[in-house]
Symmetry: C2
Subunit: 346 residues, 2 copies
């Protein structure tokens, strides 16, 4: 709780000051971002640029000892307005496929997106709703089966209805998908996320932890994608400033929650059978992303979406075996058990 | 054209007479099937049992020379009524994953299915609609990248609304997904399908060929899943008998259209690069099946569906590379070109 005194409320170094470390020039002109730091759209863009850069550099550092593969940086523009920066490190020594993407887009909300937001309870008048969306999203598939896959996404939305009414909200989450259950790793991961949540409100972690378990559910298999984390949407209270600080804190917790697991396991030995199991789990990951994930579906059905950035989340390799069932009592079965019956980790 | 004199109109041996070759006992008691051969539900069940058996045996014959892997036969029951027989041959020498499934199910139409049928123009009164569905479906992923993947599905539906009004229809199709474009293979494949269609009406092949190109479209990539074939739904004219003969003829054309391609290419040599390309194409196959395919979506959202039989269509291995683009002028690029611009093959 005492961390809120230091970590937030203006004592943190402004994100924009990290501009010289960013992976590419921002989508919006840097000067404009600097001069409009009162505008939440600009603050979010600077924040996601910093998060992308810090995470990419942290991952590259893990590759460095092993061959030094770097992120490929793809800056792209969207015909309908805005663009993004997709960073991908593929077939490295530590990481099989690591994608870290930011996007800053605006325009008229596509009907499918409007329908989805209305189904979630959002209300806005008229058919032509203007929107602004900025976010950072990432999926890391390591090579070593003992390092879990991680995914995070933090985003900010503004919409303006035809009658001029404006709404804004934040959404996001971080979640872990291991191939084998290492309880102390999962506990460490959840503890770091809880820390980030607790700084704002002790009620947040339990609520967002449950939301995560509910969201990443593969209905047809009756199991979760992984061991959870946090997930939230439509966050707009108590103030925009506090929401921004909360989301920034969550995004900042990715490195301390995940990197220690990479460092701990990246030199672990593994068997052919463990690699095969990892590939089967990757198949499950593909199932969730292509069948259930709102972001993927929403993205792929949006005209002008950059599908390569959306499908960046798919693993380099995946496998499907008919009726594969881990042997009872095996470590594979222990993982499946926890996917079917989510636990409290803290 | 002259084939219609022999192949149809009652001169064909009844499907039920092949019962001793079937992969398992039928879902409905054999005696009941024999005694109710006037009932279309029974005729269809006998037909799909024969098609499944003939196709499985033909594929096993291709494996025989190479090690003799056989189909695993899984008979399953559905809590809500009916069941199926799933035959899978996994990790053979010729076939990486071959699935041939029949199902015969009945009950009350799930709301999602009803909505989908209504969206397609079907009209029925009330909320409790009884249904019967029987079909055979199959996906064959060979090991050798020079053998195309084939998929077919032939099915029969009956629904009965609350007011007692009954409707029935047939649907189905066969389509080919090669990794490299061998024009003479594609022409052979389409010619056999055309033959089966032409016996009934010369208008059918062009119509169903276009329907196939339209259906197997991966919107986000702007390309088709493969080089097409035939696809149709809601077929209920001119009579149930003629529709049954037509669909049976299409199902019978699977072996002559596809098996020659297996035999021609199963001993072809291939490079590491060709195998990698095949895995990338398999990734595209997964994208279509999990994002767009009506059968898969409908199946996975249906309570009590047997997901292992539905996901049997997924390849054993698949791969996704960020921004993979075949070199201009390469044989990989020639395939993508034809997927983007479907051709008339005959």
């Amino acid at each position: 709780y005492q961390l809120s005194l230091f970590g937030f409320g203006g004592s943190r170094k402004p994100d924009i000051e990290s501009a010289d470390t960013w992976m590419a020039k921002p989508i919006t002109d840097l000067k404009y971002l600097q001069e409009n730091n009162h505008d939440m759209k600009c603050r979010v863009e600077a924040m996601i640029m910093r998060i992308q850069a810090e995470f990419c550099h942290a991952l590259e550092k893990e590759e460095e000892e092993e061959g030094g593969k770097k992120f490929l940086v793809d800056k792209w523009e969207r015909d309908q307005g805005g663009g993004g920066i997709t960073c991908v490190l593929q077939d490295g020594t530590v990481f099989e496929k690591a994608g870290v993407n930011i996007s800053v887009v605006s325009g008229i909300l596509p009907p499918s997106a409007m329908q989805q937001m209305r189904a979630r309870g959002k209300k806005f008048e008229g058919e032509k709703v203007k929107f602004f969306a900025a976010g950072v999203s990432s999926v890391i598939h390591p090579k070593n089966p003992h390092i879990p896959t991680v995914h995070f996404n933090y985003r900010y939305f503004e919409v303006e209805a035809e009658n001029g009414e404006k709404q804004w909200w934040f959404g996001g989450g971080t979640d872990l998908t291991p191939n084998f259950l290492e309880e102390e790793d999962v506990v460490h991961f959840h503890k770091e996320l809880k820390k980030a949540c607790d700084r704002h409100d002790k009620k947040l972690y339990p609520k967002y932890k449950k939301w995560c378990d509910d969201y990443f559910f593969v209905t047809h298999r009756g199991e979760r994608r992984g061991v959870g984390g946090i997930f939230f949407d439509d966050v707009d209270e108590p103030t925009a400033d506090k929401c921004f600080d909360f989301v920034t804190g969550c995004a900042d917790s990715v490195i301390p929650s995940y990197l220690p697991l990479v460092q701990k396991h990246k030199k672990d030995l593994y068997s052919y059978k463990e690699r095969e199991w990892q590939l089967l789990r990757r198949g499950r990951y593909v199932e969730f992303n292509l069948i259930y994930d709102r972001g993927t579906k929403f993205g792929l059905y949006t005209p002008g979406a950059r599908f390569e950035s959306i499908l960046m989340s798919l693993p380099l390799n995946a496998r499907w075996e008919y009726m594969h069932k881990p042997a009872p009592g095996s470590k594979e079965a222990r993982l499946v058990d926890v996917l079917q019956n989510p636990r409290d980790w803290i």
